[in-house]
Amino acid sequence: MTDSPAAFTVKSPVPLDFGKAVTDTSRPGVFVIDITFPHGQAVNIQEISFKNYYTAFLMVRMMMRDPSQEGSPKWFTCLRNHRLMRNPHTEQGSQDYYSLYRQQMLTAPDGVTLVRLILRQPSLAWLNFTLEEIKIHPYPSEQDSERAVPGWLSHLTPGDQPDLQDLPDPETVSSSLQQMWALTEVMQTHQTAAPIGRFDVDGCYDVTLLSYT
């Protein structure tokens, strides 16, 4: 299970061309998608999920700020030539949903400022190809309350049994307390919010209908 995705902006795919001849009929086989995070924040990535649209191969590069070194951020290749479609000419895998996890990546994606997805489709059959619905899921932080184990669970196994001499029997006391707790619970679950209508004026507060008579 992953948490809600981090916010980011995706730039539109940019084709890469070779040489100076740029014609209208050129069909680039490579697209690049850049993903930046707002306010230049650095994110620890747990997962990247997306829907494929006829992309055959994917390469993922990330610009990461290395916390140990104080220098400028550097580019790291996280996935090299990841195959999305089994056969670039056929339909298989062309519109599937994929998830890339941090365990699959060559370097741990921590402190990422920029993600670059490089899409390749060598086949002539597909003119346009891209990735849709890209989501980046951050690594969950320590204060995530839903994953935390509740405090009372760790106190379940009793420590040394205290000396019970001259004390009332804990079993009988506990059973009475449990029944009293259950009775209060019954009362609370059957509370209704139904008002008695103390201040209702025939059930409506419409100003135009109030009168002095």
């Binding site: 509740p150 009372w152 669970l153 106190h155 379940l156 009793p158 420590g159 049994q161 205290p162 000396d163 019970l164 001259d166 004390l167 009332p168 029997d169 804990p170 079993e171 009988t172 006391v173 506990s174 009475s176 307390l177 449990q178 029944q179 009293m180 707790w181 009775l183 209060t184 019954v186 009362m187 609370q188 059957h190 509370q191 209704t192 919010a193 139904a194 008002p195 008695i196 209508g197 103390r198």
Partner: protein, 304 residues
Amino acid sequence: MQVHRSMRTNHFLFANQTTMAEKRRSGVSGILSDSKPAKPDTETEFLSQLGVGVLLRGALLKLAEVRPEDPIAFLADHFGNLASESENGAAGCGDAEQQNTQEQQQLERALWHLRLAHHSQRSAFNNNVRVAYELLVQSGQRPRVGGGVRGKIYAEMLRCLCREGEVPEATAAPLLRRIQCHDHEAVPFELFRQGVLTCAVFSDYVRKSRSLYASVCHPCPETPAERALCQAVLGTLRDALDTSDCADSARFLEASAKIAPCKLAEAMASARSPAGPQTGPTMDAREFEDAAAALFITRVRPTS
């Protein structure tokens, strides 16, 4: 064989005819007899005209549902209620005194219905509350308050319920203050049901708190219990009741962990006075009961 059978049949018919003759003479029809096709038609017609089958079926169903210790007294009350209900339906409005007694009777009847099922038998209890509500809505002076039971009758009924549940007046007073309504207000069914259920549950709760006090006193039943012990026990209950609002199942687990016997043993051991038992200040039964009742009452939502 043939002869014997015919003799037995003759005897049966003869016995039936005598019973029929007796019935015709005394005019009593409320005997638990089954109508088999062997009887002559005029009797069955007569019985079905009166609608006796429905009456008896209703009485037997109620008897099976309630299972009272004294079935004859229960049946007598049941038929007595039915009789006075049909009487009241026919009567018009009389003077104030007559109306007061009528109100009192309706209240008694409503209370009788409410006593039939324990609040844990949810569907039977709800049915009885509905019947009691209908009874009380009809009682009262003209012009009738529309939309529910009159606040005065509702308050009186709650007081009677608490009294029957052996809850002392002083203990019940804060609860009644929370759920009562003004005399002139009309109480709708939802509120009525909630009030009745709260009083029934509260009487059970107070009874339980008395047995709790007895078990806390257990090592020496005659002397009152140590104050520190009582406070420790009530403190664990308060902790369990205050469990935070997460999902229901998590809340139940957490609360039950707090009032488990081992937790209680720890709390009581730490609260025990080091000088020995019966040396510290004590708490008597009444104070304990009031403190426990307060824990319940603070969680009752006041009527608004």
